[in-house]
Symmetry: C2
């Protein structure tokens, strides 16, 4: 039964409009059949990597690696960099899970925690000097709290020795990052890149690589096939250690190519902000919804979280005849908040229609 609903759920979410076309082409070209050691795969790996480098305007010092999910990347970050201590800003379920991974891997994890819907003010934060890595979440998907880029950039100066990792899972390629102020970033493809889930992308600079090699030299186990040295030994010839999700690596390259043709990251940012504005302006007028994030400066542009006086299930009942769905709140906010994904796959026309229906039907 064909499903024509438009999903504003925060991931998995709507597929980028060209995915269906590219998937059909992939089947015709038998991309799901070819060997991951073949020339065809090497060309796909290279093309996707080049397009992503271009979209994010990555410096040459950064390498792009393909893993299975952002969740896996949390684990690989700790394994490949931490001997004793990591530092995390925690303000929601996902940043909290990243923090917990460190302890589960036998490390000591420091955290500074903020309440749900709250963010951080870096001028007030002191990172312990023995923290080996600093883990920041650009966009906490569970609460809709973002960390402005200039706040992220403030950590470098006071913490010259720690490596800085940015979780950009539900916001990349939206943020404009100064690559001299961070060491690594990562995302998963089922959010802003509009792909089926099953691929995580990890971007690292040479300091992150050197760190993994230093741990290995000390005799510390940093994993097996997905250690940085293992990933890099294959990436250098445009391959992966294991048989990867070839189809998704292909689709990612094609979608980014389409994004580049539509004006690249700056055009995406402009459109994202215009769509977010539609929602945030409506919220000011709404009698049902209010901002889940009090500080306007910290409100996410890509995953908009709103307090609701009507249960999310009821909101979706109202949207049902119009073939639309929004996401419920996360965890303890499941019944009291809604989440609206504002990804590149959601067109301005769709967002406008959503806002209009919510306003007409709910006020």
């Amino acid at each position: 039964m064909a499903n024509s609903k438009v999903y504003f759920t925060p991931g998995p979410s709507e597929l980028y409009p060209t995915v269906k076309h590219h998937l059909t082409t992939a089947l015709d070209e038998k991309i799901g059949t070819i060997s991951h050691r073949s020339k065809t795969f090497i060309d796909i790996f290279k093309s996707t990597t080049d397009h992503l480098r271009s979209l994010l305007q990555l410096p040459d010092d950064f390498q792009i690696l393909y893993l299975s999910s952002a969740t896996e990347i949390w684990e690989r970050i700790i394994q490949n960099a931490v001997i004793e201590k990591s530092f995390h800003l925690v303000n929601g379920s996902f940043s909290k899970r990243f923090y917990e991974f460190s302890g589960e891997l036998g490390k000591q994890a420091y955290k500074v925690e903020a309440g749900l819907g709250e963010g951080f003010y870096p001028a007030n934060i002191t990172v312990p000097s023995d923290a080996e890595i600093i883990c920041l979440t650009h966009n906490e998907t569970s609460t809709g709290v973002s960390m402005p880029e200039e706040d992220i950039h403030m950590f470098r100066e006071k913490n010259k020795n720690a490596l800085i990792y940015i979780d950009g899972v539900s916001s990349l390629p939206y943020p404009v990052l100064d690559y001299s102020k961070i060491d690594s970033l990562f995302f998963s493809v089922q959010k802003c890149f509009g792909l089926p889930a099953g691929l995580g992308v990890w971007i690292v600079n040479s300091k992150v690589i050197d760190r993994a090699e230093a741990l290995l030299k000390k005799g510390i186990s940093i994993g097996t096939y997905h250690t940085l040295p293992s990933l890099l030994s294959k990436a250098i010839s445009h391959q992966t250690p294991e048989t990867p999700n070839v189809l998704n690596i292909y689709l990612l390259g094609k979608v980014i190519e389409d994004m580049l043709h539509k004006g690249g990251a700056s055009a995406l940012r402009k459109e994202t902000e215009a769509k977010a504005q539609m929602v945030y302006q409506y919220v000011e007028r709404s009698s049902v919804f209010s901002n889940g994030v009090a500080d306007a400066r910290l409100r996410s542009q890509t995953t908009i979280v709103l307090n609701t006086t009507i249960a999310p299930g009821e909101v979706n009942n109202v949207l049902e005849p119009f073939n639309m769905a929004i996401g419920a709140g996360y965890g303890s906010k499941k019944e009291s908040q809604i989440r609206i994904a504002n990804f590149p796959a959601h067109s301005p026309e769709q967002m406008e229609a959503l806002v209009k229906i919510l306003e007409t039907k709910l006020g």
Copy 2:
């Protein structure tokens, strides 16, 4: 450019004939868009798991878990079961890599090694009594050497305390296993299940689960999101800890459903053996190819490896006008062997055509 070539490469390989249809349906139903916490996903997880349980005739004591690749499963096996020592039979690149993972994770790995193209005779093998796990490869994809099921079953009696793991990556669902004689098995979907790569399936009994929990209780780190307790805590409600490759879990269920309609595993086995016979009988007559595996009893039914006097590239040049391709040998055998995948996706007609062309053109 459409590609109509038939690939006899040993994985990724031909997609199962119904995959294209199921993928089209999946797109129409927006399976790539739905949340991995939704009722729709829960139904998919349950359906795929039920179909696989039925195909493999798994006892209730065994649980089915979804990870990203068989390579990942090698790592998770060691992490979730070994305090000090693992034991491995090594006779090719893949069984060797599994063995190496143990050392890379800081464990001590025992091995009994056989030459390339050679297998094992369990009556002659003594597993050290302090080995905590025994890792056997049913079908070594790099050399085409299989371990007959009755040989696998011999390990239990002499090794009552060690857990027994079967790598069935390139043979499942072909082997007929006695589940009272093994504790765990695993495969990846891009071999005999004819799917695009990006999903590994790990099957474990309660002893394997108990072992992981015992390690955790001792304070040993067994990983993070993909520890057995974490995987099981979600599997119990038909979910995964992370956002998984939803599309592939869906496709796996659909393909297995098709296999069940075609007579299930016993029909698959019969067809597989008939197709393998076509190749092995031709080899007896061939002046170009000879068996890569000397002992006929150990010759694989699913990945047929042959010595060749003509370079694999030349063999593929001969096959090119007929729109077919075989795999080259693996590693040091790259130029002196060919590998022919004999998976359920390869029809008897296709295998017959391949053999006929090889015989007519090369002798």
